[in-house]
Symmetry: C2
Subunit: 596 residues, 2 copies
């Protein structure tokens, strides 16, 4: 059975030392979140994820969910574990105190999210979807709606979902068919079928609040005629108690590759009573509130699964003896050395480590930007954070989820044949990880979003701010001898990204297929440059602390070695990406569609 | 349900046009294999794999194997399908005619292998293991052993296995504990437990012939004391009929990530009667006969699974409508265009295509080398083929299986959310594919084999022959205008491989960890250069045929476009690999083992 130990030490280094969250205490949420409080929350989160959620991960995968008499039953133990989640008050951690939330920074919510997913991805999705729904209701709901739903949802007594996809449309929501016919009382009759609804139904809460995209008849064609509705599974009586079923039922559960313990439902809405959330025909905008948040959440799933897979691979590699070190026996009294002595095993572990720690820094940085956009008193700071966040969200979602799959696969590989066997749990990590490049917008869609929407937005302001952020760092550290290895390599990689951006501007206009063919490569190039920036900057901080005699010397020296690995064994991939971008679309699009 | 259509056209192009197999008709097997006979065999193989084996693939995965009263039961329909395989005489295709085989080239056996795996990997492994066992018995068996086993095994009436791995040892066979105690009659009593035995038992044949590695007490320590034994599950009476169980039983079946329809057994040998195959204590050598063949077989699994996954992705991409082409609607009468218009979908399909067709050429070339090593009248030609084959086998095994996983994953991605759902079958391809980088020696072991054994062997003769082969091609085509795009890029990639080889020689001696850390990168660099060579050469042939007005113009032009794609979107990866190799082992090995 796999194990999990929350990486509290690394997270504390990032929150307290590297990002120094205290510097943001002009924001209300950070003012509340003193280092001591953060540490206490972290320690509690570690306990519940390690001891309560993680042990249910493998059995939950094996048992899965089942549909009995129209009701979804989650795996054994999930209800009890969920009760502990409710009792711990975890769902309301970052919620608005006006509606019963605890007002902690979103940054801390992201960190909790990592721990939850590492411990039990399928379980974590139930509260995860609720979080997305409360964000939408909080942003777009009327005061009455907020009063009605948020306290119950922050308390995790009701859960939430997002209902977008239909059998014939996922990416292209303009095609959707679910109807919302107005009733006389201002509510709507919602009818249609939605598919792939994660946590669509279950036995963990007394009600499920669906957010549903639908078209009001007579509205504009395509995405401009889509509205968002709140559709509770059970009606809610005036006194707040739960009433009859509201015409919402589960058609079936999907058999999937992984995340078996989360119910992926076909949802049928049969004249269900729905309430407009936000404005008529502005559903896409409201949806994106949920979506952007959700994309960051999915990005985190990528390195969260990598973290737990890596932990187990490291344990196995230290434990399993097989063969001898190339440089002479390390374990001469035994018949063989532990496989961690083999450089190729180390290569896999170091590749994962550099990814995980780099990704965690990037995600926490993004979390801070979320908090700044919501609470910063200075409008300019807010705008800049908004721009950078919009730019980087698709990059993180796509790169981290692709790499999450790769990292889970490398960790599995460390186990040899045992990695392929269910009881070791490594193959579950890989199966679970594979959903993340697909949902919340496929990674291809993320790349198109980056190239087609985020780069040109506001005359390219975001990418200029991004380049400036990195260039400023390079300039400030150029003469820092301790940074000698990193700065020239980062500058080279940045140069490649800048050249590729220029190429895109020039060639994407002439032929949009050039932009489309380059999108995936470009996104990965930007991800690597961004990660290079954070690795260089973390190395700077580690060096500074070492020089000042602060912190844990071993921990900080390990950061420096991992930074070295990133710069010499991962960042070089930028060279190939630039060449691929500049190769253009000719051979990509050269065949007739029928030739495949 | 996924479908499969054997890629007969591409295979015929390779066998007849590109490799022109007829040029080898000084070898007995090729002399028999006239183009007409090859085509007839291909058409029959296509029929049986498409119509009989493929329809059982998804149901076989869902049902899996079960153990009932000590007997393994394969999924419904497998027995009937296997009977058709027996009746078709497929097992003996490449077998020695002296023992009832049909004497066809091994090259043709490899092609059949591809079709079998594409259609139904789990099923294909039953005959696949038998093939490995017959090769070993044919090479190392006494005349009596050959007479006794080969005719029944060529007829597929008995199947075969390889029993290497034990719970505590896989890669490091020196640790193995299975004992072989001599009986007075020259036979041995075999006792021990073996794990991960593919096709270890089943209900398809009347007997299973196990080849088992074991130690004769008192022999040398480690791998030098290992011998190989023939251990039939049921004793064989003097009249050839099947006798009692021979102390061989199935301990349990493993629950795995994929290949569920193949029984992965824990095998218990309890004083089973075994017969020495080859010499005492020379079991490793005999094992490698099976192993090298098997590694090539596994390499083929990599692109075979990619082929079937790609076919289904292409069908879906042409069928599913979603969004609009960037260059204007391609399907203006419908509400959306098929997703194959999107460059990022094309990028995935083209990456797969370039891999599959390049890999197929490499595999068939390797198959031809196998035939040359066995039958060529000229000793020098034989030796050269042997050297090149030994060098390239780990490269093909590792690269093709890693890329097989990636290709299956890309094909799944083309389906969006549906790719994650079982009924579409794409997630099975990915789960099945993931075993190949592990078994028959993990890909890390392949890389070490390449660097540590194959490169230095015989004073580097193999790598010199390899460089010469490619350099000769470059020199011969430098002034060929039609090859203008390819030759300079191939030469650059070759230069990187040569420089990396030089670096390895210089730095791997001083610190073996430098070689170990570089091994995986170096193997991939060599794989890309090799594939570049074959793509350039296939392009040369396609261009020649077009100029001569021969062949199918569309097919040949598609080859050229795919070659373009390979050179501009895949081969550039060589640049990053060279940098990673030359980065050395410092940061790879820099952390204490306990730091993970």
């Amino acid at each position: 059975m796999p194990t999990y130990s929350a990486p509290v030490k690394d997270i504390k280094f990032l929150l307290h030392e590297y990002f120094n969250l205290q510097q943001y205490n002009n924001l209300p949420s950070f003012a509340e979140a003193t280092p001591d409080l953060i540490d206490a929350i972290l320690e509690e989160a570690a306990k519940v994820t390690e001891n309560v959620f993680q042990p249910l991960n493998l059995p939950g995968d094996e048992q899965g969910c089942r549909l009995e008499n129209g009701k979804v039953i989650t795996p054994d133990g999930f209800k009890e574990a969920y009760n502990q989640y409710v009792e711990g008050g975890w769902q309301g951690l970052t919620g608005d105190p006006e509606y019963g939330g605890q007002g902690m920074p979103q940054t801390l919510g992201l960190v909790l999210n990592e721990l939850m997913v590492s411990a039990n991805w399928g379980f974590a999705m139930y509260p995860g979807l609720t979080k997305g729904a409360t964000e939408s209701i909080h942003t777009w709901g009327t005061e009455e709606q907020k009063q009605k739903y948020l306290p119950k949802m922050y308390a995790a007594e009701w859960s939430g979902t997002m209902n977008l996809t239909e059998p014939h449309c996922g990416t292209d929501l303009g095609l959707l068919r679910t109807k919302a016919e107005p009733n006389d009382d201002g509510s709507y009759k919602i009818s249609g079928t939605k598919i792939f609804i994660s946590a669509g139904d279950h036995d963990l809460t007394e009600n499920v609040i669906h957010l549903v995209l639908a078209k009001i008849p007579g509205g504009p064609e395509g995405v401009k005629g889509i509205s968002l509705f709140i559709v509770p599974r059970n009606k809610i009586n005036d006194d707040g108690s739960i009433g009859d079923n509201n015409g919402v039922s589960v058609g079936s559960l999907e058999e999937k590759m992984g995340i078996h313990s989360n119910a992926t439902c076909v949802m049928n809405f049969d004249e269900a009573e729905g309430y407009l959330l936000g404005q008529e025909h502005k559903g896409m905008r409201a949806m994106f509130t949920m979506m952007n948040e959700a994309r960051l959440g999915v990005a985190i799933q990528g390195y969260a699964i990598a973290e737990v897979a890596q932990q187990n691979a490291a344990i196995y590699a230290n434990d399993r003896i097989q063969g001898r070190a190339l440089t002479g026996a390390k374990n001469p009294d035994a018949k063989a050395d532990p496989i961690i002595v083999h450089p190729d095993v180390r290569r896999m572990l170091m590749t994962n480590r550099a990814f995980i720690e780099g990704a965690r820094a990037m995600a926490i940085w993004a979390g801070i930007q979320v908090d700044i956009t919501r609470q910063h008193p200075d409008e300019a700071a807010k705008n800049k954070a908004e721009e950078l966040l919009a730019l980087i969200t698709p990059v993180l979602k796509s790169y981290m989820t692709d790499q999450g799959v790769e990292a889970a696969s490398r960790a599995l590989q460390c186990f040899g044949g045992h990695g392929y066997i269910r009881e070791w749990g490594m193959e579950q990590f890989l199966r679970d990880s594979r959903i993340a490049p697909i949902y919340e917008g496929t990674n291809g869609i993320q790349a198109m979003d980056l190239i087609g929407r985020k780069l040109p937005a506001n005359g390219g302001a975001a990418i200029r701010a991004y380049f400036e952020m990195i260039q400023t760092f390079i300039d400030a550290n150029k003469d820092n001898d301790a940074m000698g290895t990193y700065i020239p390599l980062l500058e080279k990689a940045l140069g490649r990204l800048q050249a590729a951006s220029m190429w895109l501007m020039q060639n994407g206009m002439a032929n949009p297929d050039n932009a489309g063919a380059a999108a995936h490569y470009y996104l990965n190039l930007m991800a690597l440059v961004t990660m290079g920036y954070f690795w260089a900057d973390m190395a700077r901080k580690a060096r500074e602390m070492l020089d000042a005699g602060e912190g844990d010397t071993t921990f900080l020296n390990n950061k420096l070695t991992t930074a070295d690995f990133f710069f010499h064994h991962i960042l070089p991939e930028t060279s190939a990406l630039k060449v691929k971008i500049e190769a253009g679309a000719d051979s990509v699009m050269g065949l007739d569609a029928g030739a495949f």
